[in-house]
């Protein structure tokens, strides 16, 4: 009875409470916010059928204009101010399951319907998602007044800079307290790994540890920001975004020379190039006035797209794939927005329309590259003596031709552009594209090169291979038997590439060129006579008769033929006569072209800057405008993630309505504002601010309470603790072993890799292990083959870099343990580490182990840990003392280290390189 009574009381109470809650929600008419209150309900329940993809019954909730428009029934579903006559509310509240929405899903709760009702009552206003609103100055949180407000504001002592205001405020809301600063040694290791990816250089480390002044930490931070290792560490982050690799991808996956771009990044980070310029150079360096080699190299950012060399592939298909990849990467990496879905239809959740994808694509669709084997256009960087020829040529052109003509010539010398790729030929008879890459002509050949602008051109420079003597190559205008423009007999190049120049009569306008080829020396109708690479129709070399003409012209020809060069794929736009139209692809299918579009940015975001050109340079200006809501937030969020392990908004790649909401939105905005306005886009200043905060400097040990309340450290009641990245794990192991090379820059290297990793068909490339210090370079210099990336780094969640990776997801697997336990790279590191312990740790084994621990973790080993490792040493020593063979194997070679003591220490060193605290940033 008593029990029943209780139950009744409980039930009555619940009913009463529910009534109060419902009553309140119905009567209070609180202000409804679209983004926080309404949008989540719509995204969860409605948008799948009434959004950017499907518009059932002609009703879509994506844009206000759509939602208020008449739908298929002829009536609007939402009448602002009048929920009672709004069909949407009626349909949500019906009983008939055939009519009630959401169709075939559980009904919305009373509370949810109440929110929607109030929202319509209040005018059905749309709101803007936080990430799409320009960054505004954010006030610092205020602190609660002291007792009865009598003592004014109290700034907690814990706070060190403005970041901490936001973090502290949130901690208070979550009923959490921040923790004390980590000890010096821990801080030293943490900040060194975060800023430079490797342990601090000894001079910085020891001055910090011995400096007892207030500014010791600040000095350390500034010192680290100025080491060259800083640029290498942040480049490692950027390479994933740029999908940097040393091969072209797809089946052949041949080598690509693009390491100069990696080096450009290192330099840019090290000289703290402002981020707006950093982006502008990468997106549009080629469009800057008189671009330097560095400006060109920066544009390799968007030439890291894949090229398909497999025979028989449709070059236009893969060119298009590369352009689409540029669009997706630009949004995902640089503007934290998932744009890929707009390729096929309007964005299902976010305010981007289908055609806006293609308008944006139009910025990239006129890049010159055409999925060619040569990866054109390439920047040709000359070495001596060509580089001095280049300088002399430039000097001569200054005074012997117009600036415009000089620019054309210098561009051609540097890039061989704008040349026509022979693979554009068609209408083949006795001619073909060799391996679908180059035009070849046989005896009695005929083929066409469409729509070539000959206006004002009286010279043709072309690149070819021939195998036989003789042969007449004739160019006809407009039809196979049309007017002969020129007949020539290129000399037999005996199977190697050669440049040739022929004069052509001046002709007006654009023409289809028909090539014929006759060569009686070709025995079989199936033998190839001549193969073409590129055609460059131009004017003759200027200044004929002027002093110095002969040598200048000679330099010109020597330079364009030189192969003593470093090449880098770069971005360049088509000249007007090669302009490519851009069309919407219906449902994302590149073969089904819809309406033509011009370059533009999504209208929902900031307006395109007035007077800015509608090209990549204008696009960069738009992206780096202070009005752009996404660019600054994206980089701030990313840098935060690199340092704390998780972004302020966890989904770095998606700040939109489907991304995970930021934990500290005001802080993200505050830092973004600061980056653009106060730091003038300086990333070093931003990074410095973050690591100078008390939030960052906290101890990372967690109390039971904090761990329970905040297991993933979203609120920062403790310092960051995350596993190191693939590159950092390798670099750190080499560094503490004393074998890490500090050599910077240059072509990628081939450190030890197990056999049998590279077995690509039709490729034949092999992994030839580098020699000398190149085996011990930092991870970012390791040769990156897309279809077979360096396996040990892949085990630690490295990215294969086929497309942009906005965020590596950390995993914890047994295969990782096997890498650091057994990979020869780590075994070798353990050997050198043991030698170092012996050398620097005195004669006593415990001292040696302690020294090793100190070298690895920069702090004193605890007695318990020392005992564990010492016992391991003893067990190993016992075995090696009785086993000469194993001893020698463990040391690797029979040298002065070949003794049981050292072998046992190698085992201890191997264990140390595997400790959780070693592979983790504490």
């Amino acid at each position: 009875m008593k029990f029943l009574l209780n139950k009744k009381i409980i039930l009555a109470t619940i009913v009463l409470l529910v009534l109060i809650v419902v009553g309140l929600s119905l009567t209070t008419r609180r202000k409804i916010d679209y983004i926080t209150d309404v949008k989540p309900i719509i995204n969860k329940n409605c948008i799948t059928c009434h959004g950017g993809v499907k518009r059932k019954s002609g009703f879509s909730l994506l844009f206000r204009s759509d939602a208020l428009a008449k739908n298929e029934s002829g009536k609007p579903a939402i009448i602002p101010g009048d929920p009672d006559h709004s069909e949407m509310i009626r349909r949500l509240t019906l009983k008939d399951p055939e009519e009630r929405m959401p169709y075939k899903h559980p009904p919305l709760s009373e509370e949810e319907i109440g929110i929607l009702r109030d929202w319509i009552k209040q005018g059905a206003k749309w709101g803007d998602h936080w990430a799409y609103v320009p960054v505004k100055p954010t006030p610092l949180p205020e602190f609660h007044k002291g007792f009865l407000g009598l003592f004014g504001e109290e700034k907690p002592e814990w706070i060190k800079n403005e970041i901490d205001y936001f973090v502290y405020d949130k901690l208070q809301q979550e009923k959490l307290e921040p923790t004390h600063q980590a000890d010096k040694a821990t801080l030293l290791r943490r900040v060194s790994l975060d800023l430079t990816g490797i342990p601090a250089p000894e001079n910085l480390a020891s001055s910090f540890l011995h400096d007892t002044s207030e500014t010791a930490y600040e000095k350390l931070v500034d010192g680290l920001l100025n080491t060259p290792a800083y640029g290498e560490r942040w480049t490692a982050m950027w390479l994933d975004l740029a999908r940097y690799a040393d091969t072209k991808g797809y089946e052949r996956d041949d080598s690509r020379s693009i390491w100069r771009y990696r080096d450009w990044l290192i330099t840019a980070f090290n000289k703290d190039m402002p981020y707006d310029q950093f982006l502008t150079d990468q997106l549009a360096g080629d469009l800057l006035p008189d671009p330097t080699n560095d400006d060109y190299i920066a544009t390799a950012f968007h030439r890291n797209t894949m090229t398909n060399d497999e025979g028989g592939t449709d070059n236009e298909e893969f060119r298009t794939a590369a352009v689409i990849d540029r669009v997706n990467t630009t949004w995902e990496a640089l503007m934290g927005t998932t744009f890929a879905c707009v390729q096929c239809h309007s964005h299902p959740y976010d305010p981007f329309r289908h055609d806006e994808y293609y308008k944006f694509m139009a910025f990239f669709n006129n890049m010159r590259d055409e999925d060619t084997f040569g990866d054109y256009p390439l920047l040709r960087e000359y070495k001596k003596p060509d580089s001095s020829r280049l300088a002399k040529l430039q000097l001569w052109l200054n005074t012997n031709t117009s600036p415009q003509r000089k620019r054309e010539i210098m561009t051609f010398v540097k890039t061989w552009q704008p040349a026509i790729n022979s693979l554009l030929a068609d209408e083949f008879t006795n001619s073909e594209l060799l391996d679908t890459k180059w035009l070849v002509l046989r005896n009695h050949a005929l083929c066409r090169l469409k729509n070539v602008d000959l206006e004002g051109r009286n010279q043709l420079i072309f690149r070819y291979i021939s195998w036989v003597n003789g042969g007449n190559w004739t160019i006809h205008l407009d039809k196979p038997d049309g007017t002969v423009l020129k007949t020539s007999s290129p000399i037999n190049s005996k199977g190697s590439w050669k440049n040739a120049t022929i004069e052509i009569p001046e002709t007006h306008g654009a023409h289809d060129l028909w090539f014929t080829y006759e060569n009686s020396n070709l025995k079989s109708p199936l033998d190839n006579g001549i193969q073409f690479g590129v055609f460059y129709f131009t004017k003759d070399f200027p200044g004929k008769g002027n002093p110095g003409y002969d040598s200048a012209f000679k330099y010109f020809n020597e330079l364009i033929a030189s192969d003593n060069i470093v090449v880098t794929p770069i971005a360049m736009d088509n000249p007007p006569d090669m302009f490519r139209k851009t069309n919407v692809f219906e449902r994302g299918n590149w073969l089904v072209k819809g309406e033509e579009v011009k370059p533009d940015v999504p209208h929902y975001l900031n307006a395109f800057p007035q007077n800015a050109p509608k090209n990549r340079l204008g696009l960069a200006e738009w992206m780096t405008s202070k009005e752009n809501p996404l660019t600054s937030r994206t980089i701030v969020n990313r840098i935060w993630e690199q340092i704390f392990g998780t972004g302020i908004a966890e989904t770095l790649e998606d700040l939109g309505t489907q991304g995970i909401a930021p934990t500290h939105q005001e802080l993200l905005d505050w830092l973004s504002w600061k980056l653009m306005n106060d730091y003038k886009w300086s990333l070093k200043k931003l990074i410095r601010e973050i690591v100078m905060s008390a939030t960052y400097r906290q101890d990372s040990k967690a109390s039971e309470d904090v761990l329970k309340k905040d297991p993933f450290n979203k609120f920062y009641a403790r310092g960051p603790r995350t596993r190191l990245s693939a590159e950092q794990i390798r670099d750190q192991a080499l560094s503490v072993s004393g074998i890490l090379s500090n050599k910077m820059y240059g072509p990628s290297v081939f450190p030890y890799q197990p056999g049998g990793i590279w077995l690509s068909p039709w490729n034949g490339a092999t992994w030839e292990r580098s020699s000398g210090e190149d085996q011990y370079r930092r991870g970012i210099y390791t040769y990156w083959k897309r279809t077979a990336p360096y396996p040990s780094m892949m085990s630690f969640d490295g990215a294969s870099r086929e497309v942009c990776t906005a965020r590596r997801i950390r995993t914890n697997t047994p295969l990782q343990a096997l890498v650091t336990l057994n990979d020869s790279v780590y075994v070798e590191a353990a050997r050198f580490f043991a030698f170092r312990m012996e050398k620097e740790g005195g004669t006593d084994i415990k001292n040696q182990i302690s020294k090793g621990y100190e070298l690895a973790l920069l702090k004193q080993i605890s007695p318990q840990k020392l005992t564990v490792l010492d016992n391991l040493y003893k067990a190993a020593l016992k075995k090696f003392a009785a086993d000469k063979n194993s001893t020698c194997e463990m040391i690797g070679v029979d040298n002065e280290h070949n003794n049981p003591q050292t072998a046992a220490l190698v085992v201890v060193a191997n264990a140390m390189l595997n400790l959780d605290e070693f592979v983790t940033k504490n």
Partner: protein, 504 residues
């Protein structure tokens, strides 16, 4: 371990998993969300509601602390494991399964323009000649299945198999077609079928990888490791390549000079120090690392054990036609059976060398191709018989096929006849067979026209094959998604139909 033991082990693991769940993401969200924000996050609480995950974009199956913990499928599947035998390079259906006597009559004639108009081929240019079947065919089994003389052993098991004779693709180059077949998209960057399955089901035998890849033929498939990659899924789900030469799994062998006892002692020491660190930091990731090191140690024994086929009795070696100490298809097939027996979920084989263009003798349809058939016939037959005799065929789905078919025309690369008899890549018709795992026996689905040029009925696509594989494992391919780039991605993208016609 037997399957029963594995089931028991799984129950234990699940229990342990439950107990650790308080640190997982879902629980974190449950504990920490309050107020209206709860509504936005409420979607994460859908728990194991698969539909919920599709609509809201949370990747509910990924738990970074235990990414490989065993998980249940959406519904009980007919198959527990998959063995996918991919003949990389694309074998000719016209010399194996698709009997076309009419094509013989056209042998040597110019290809009619109607077959060439508007078509694109990888290498054929101009007007090629028709090429009649280069093998004799006969009918076998109760199903009266037509089969070529190139597969004499296989003729004895046709009554166990369902043939899909009208498979079509839209990719005529190897790498894109292989990617389409295994990742659902012709470009790099998507997760492979095995990665999806590992993501969805975890690993049954924690001492072995859940998704194993074996290659033979001297080369990797044309699309490289991307065909067993994890794409945008966490890299833990990528296929683990087991190798016959070098380490059976990369880095699995202890360094020279370190015996098992010493390795044990060193892992014990590492874990002891890590336990001390755990006491200090209370970071659950450390506990996870401790168990990963224990597992690594066990894998060091279990992987070489399972990779060692020498323990198999002589009659089994004879049955498969293995070759001692060689990286060959037969050895890999036997390994596949061993792995499946030990609870490995997805075994993917690639055998390279089927690209019979006729550009040299090895790639001639009447020379090299026959040798390739001989190198696989016995083993693939033995696999079916052996799985059957062990009672494993019922819940093991075996798939055999290439990435596309071959033309009924003789290839004339760049307009010239090739030196040997060969066929170009062909997208419009090819044959794939499946057996076991709830598939009909002695059945054939789909037909091509009388010269085998194009499919005319019962057409299926790579997406349909993927949908069917997922279905047999207990997944609705339309609902099995992963949130990436702001939208839920599926293996089958926006395509795919379960081929119900071949389901038993």
């Amino acid at each position: 371990m037997t399957r029963k033991e594995l089931d028991t082990q799984r129950l234990f693991q699940e229990a342990r998993h439950e107990s650790l769940q308080w640190v997982t993401r879902r629980h974190f969200l449950k504990d920490s969300i309050t107020g209206l924000g709860a509504m936005a996050l409420g979607s994460f609480l859908a728990g194991c509601d698969w539909l919920g995950s599709r609509q809201t974009g949370s990747n509910i199956l990924f738990d970074s602390a235990h990414p490989l913990a065993p998980k249940l499928p959406m519904f009980p599947g007919k198959a527990k494991s998959i063995i996918y035998l991919h003949m990389a390079g694309a074998p000719s259906q016209l010399e194996l399964f698709d009997y076309k006597p009419a094509l013989m009559k056209l042998d040597g004639q110019d290809c009619p323009p109607s077959l060439l108009e508007g078509k694109k081929f990888a290498f054929i240019r101009g007007v090629p000649k028709m090429l009649g079947p280069q093998a004799k065919f006969a009918q076998y089994g109760e199903s009266r299945t037509w089969l070529s003389e190139n597969l004499p052993h296989f003729s004895t098991v046709v009554d166990e198999v369902s043939f899909l004779k009208a498979v079509q693709t839209d990719q005529f180059n190897h790498a894109p077609a292989q990617l389409l077949m295994h990742t659902g998209v012709a470009r790099l960057g998507r997760p492979s079928m095995g990665a999806w399955v590992t993501y969805g089901l975890g690993t049954e035998n924690s001492n072995l990888p859940g998704f194993v890849v074996l290659t033979s033929g001297g080369k990797f498939p044309d699309a490289g490791k991307s065909v067993w990659g994890s794409g945008f899924l966490p890299s833990v789900y990528q296929g683990v390549q087991c190798r016959s030469e070098g380490d059976p799994v990369l880095y699995i062998k202890d360094p020279k000079g370190m015996d098992r006892d010493l390795r044990k002692a060193s892992i014990d020491a590492i874990n002891e120090v890590n336990k001390l660190s755990y006491e200090e930091f209370k970071d659950p990731e450390i506990l996870s690392r401790i168990s990963q090191y224990e597992m690594a140690f066990r894998m060091q024994t279990s992987v070489p054990d399972v990779m060692n086929i020498n323990d198999e009795p002589e009659y089994i070696h004879e049955m498969y036609g293995t070759q001692a100490n060689k990286a060959c298809f037969a050895n890999n097939v036997l390994l596949a059976r061993k792995l499946v027996e030990k609870g490995v979920r997805f075994v993917q084989l690639f055998d390279w060398g089927w690209d019979s263009h006729g550009s040299d003798a090895n790639l001639a349809i009447d020379i090299g191709f026959i040798n390739k058939c001989r190198s696989v016939d016995k083993a693939m037959t033995a696999l079916i018989l052996d799985l059957k005799q062990r009672g494993l065929l019922e819940d093991t789905l075996v798939i055999w096929g290439g990435e596309f078919g071959r033309t009924p025309m003789q290839e004339n690369r760049e307009g010239k006849p090739n030196p040997f008899k060969g066929r170009d890549h062909h997208t419009e018709a090819f044959t794939i067979w499946m057996a076991g795992g709830g598939i009909k026996k002695g059945f054939s689905y789909g037909e091509t026209d009388e010269i085998g040029y194009t499919a005319i009925s019962g057409k299926v696509t790579p997406y349909d094959i993927q949908a069917t594989v997922l279905n047999q494992l207990g997944f609705d391919h339309e609902k099995f998604t992963y949130q990436f780039q702001g939208r839920p991605f599926r293996l089958t993208d926006v395509h795919g139909r379960v081929i119900n016609e071949i389901l038993a």
